[in-house]
Amino acid sequence: MPMRSLKSRLMYGMIGGMAVLLIGFDLIVYHAISRTLFSQFDSSLESVARIMSASVEQDNNNINFEFDVKMMPEFAGGTRAAYYEFWKDDGTPIAKSPSLGSNDLVWFKPENHPHTSKSFVMKDGRSVRAVAVNFLPRTEKNNSNAVDTPQSIILMVARDAGNLLEHLQFLKYLLSFASAGIISLACAVAAIVVRRGLAPLSAVAAQIDNISEDNLKSRIAGEHLPAELAPIQRQLNNLLTRLEASFERERAFNADVAHELRTPLAGIRSIIDVTLTRDRDAAEYRSALSESLSIINNMEEMVAKLLMLARIESGQMTFSWGQIRPAELVDRCWHPFSDKAAAAEIIFDNRLDGNLVWKSDATALSMIFSNLLDNAVEYTNHGGRIWATAGKIDTGIEIIFENTGNQLTKQQLESVFDCYWQGDASRSRTGVHFGLGLPLVKRIVELLGGKIRVETPNGLFSIHIYLPPVKSGS
């Protein structure tokens, strides 16, 4: 089921609420007015009834009425006629006003109240309202015919209520039409208010709607936004900034991968194309194949590093813990680079304490050490030095690799752990170094729970790796 719009929700809510309030108000007003009018009507009837009841006397079995109907012309009949009727307690009629003629009032017995009122329609169609009072007639104590216990008598006094009911009916219609009018007006006002009130939200929604992968640079304008939307606008813009940076990183990463793959592929293709342009001797073919193989080996290394990064990112790398002597591991990792270092007259000094034993994963540490030493040999100046040291810090250890071949500025240090980043923007070592070694090292160190940082003190390149102790149960 599609969700209704905020606009329609607010419209329906406001109009519905207003309608309910108006109807409630109408009912209260109508009830209060009718109650007041009926109360006043009933009071006047009750006064008459009390006066009349005081004029009733009983002796023996006779009920005597000591009032003169002629003195009360309203009971004689006419357009604004009044009525009375006396009943015994059992409902037997005793007397009634001439205005009733052959009609009778509708008998009802007052219950637990000084008087009871009721509206009804008489047989001739007249709407009347009556008040019934229950009383004991007077007895003459000095009269020998007086009774000890007078019988209870019910007096009902009524008056034509047509006019009152008509007024109330008019009031009912008036309130209904007024409410309908107010609700109609409220609809129009609500539509304007809601539209204006939601205009900033609609503007924000339109701006958000226009944002796509291709224009992540656009931001949601916040100059005229209400205070309630400002945090949303701020957070959305922050999110867009992060998203744009993320897309930019992905684009840059893809471009870097493309570059790092295209260039060696171009090399292989060029070697093969040129070789095939004419017949050559076996040595030339062998040379072409050897050069192609060398490029392929480098590409294979890059793909392996990419796969390793992907495995780490997806949490597929697992560790096998064991007691390791870092000094021995550094020596083993240095071995493959020793010839290249010797050719460049680079001296390596492993200063790690041979007795230091640390619980870690040998494969992971080997990858870290090999990548760092590979980089060090590549970038250290001819005749320079590389050295490794280690020391305990709190409960962990810090292993430091340093060399004399720093080529980076302080600003460049912030990027050394970015994939495919190379100090030389031209990627002059394309096909040999890919800018994946340090990112790979950082991911592995972090997986081991450690931290890595780079410093360039006094022109040295210094990389610090802190490894905490392996937690039990890891």
Binding site: P264, R269, D273, I295
Partner: protein, 222 residues
Amino acid sequence: MRILLIEDYPPLQKSLAKGLREANFAVDVSSDGQEGLWYVMSNDYDVIILDLMLPKLDGLSVLKQLRAKNKDNHVLILTAKDTVDDRIKGLDLGADDYLVKPFAFGELLARLRALTRRRYEQKHPCLKIHDLYIDIASRRVWRGDEEVVLTSREYMLLEYLAMRAGQVVSRTDIWEHVYEFNSEASSNVVDVYIGYLRKKIEKEANPPLLRTVRGQGYILGA
């Protein structure tokens, strides 16, 4: 025709230089932008093959600087950057052609031939001077119905003279467009090769095609 190859990836640089030389181009090679720009300023290359991501000075900066100094060499950008924006940027900065790595070597040769033809305002892929035919694509030469077999250097010399047929071509021009930077300079090396060429393309019965203009140089087919 003389080409400058500015490319820093050694395997590609080496194979391209070899292939281009075998295709009868004189090739100078540079591995970074600064050196490449120096080569451009020092010599008159027919075509410059320019990588974009170069050490010291990137390819686009090289292009900007050489255009700023009114060098009108034809430039072919050879790069791994393959987006439309990259191509537009390169061409708008004054490059004449754009080829994305990896590429077919044959296509590179064809584009280089097209650029050299454009430089010398030649539209036809075959050059014809009287009854001398030069097929630039196959690098074969005929005089009348008879094919003339030339060495690489002789062909390069003939192609350059043919591109400028009817014009007096100085020894310096020939040196700049037929010989590489590292060629051993010799006072009469051009004259020697002109002599070799004459022997192969001239026929006794016909009027000479290649003449010497005393004190100025040589003219083909005037």
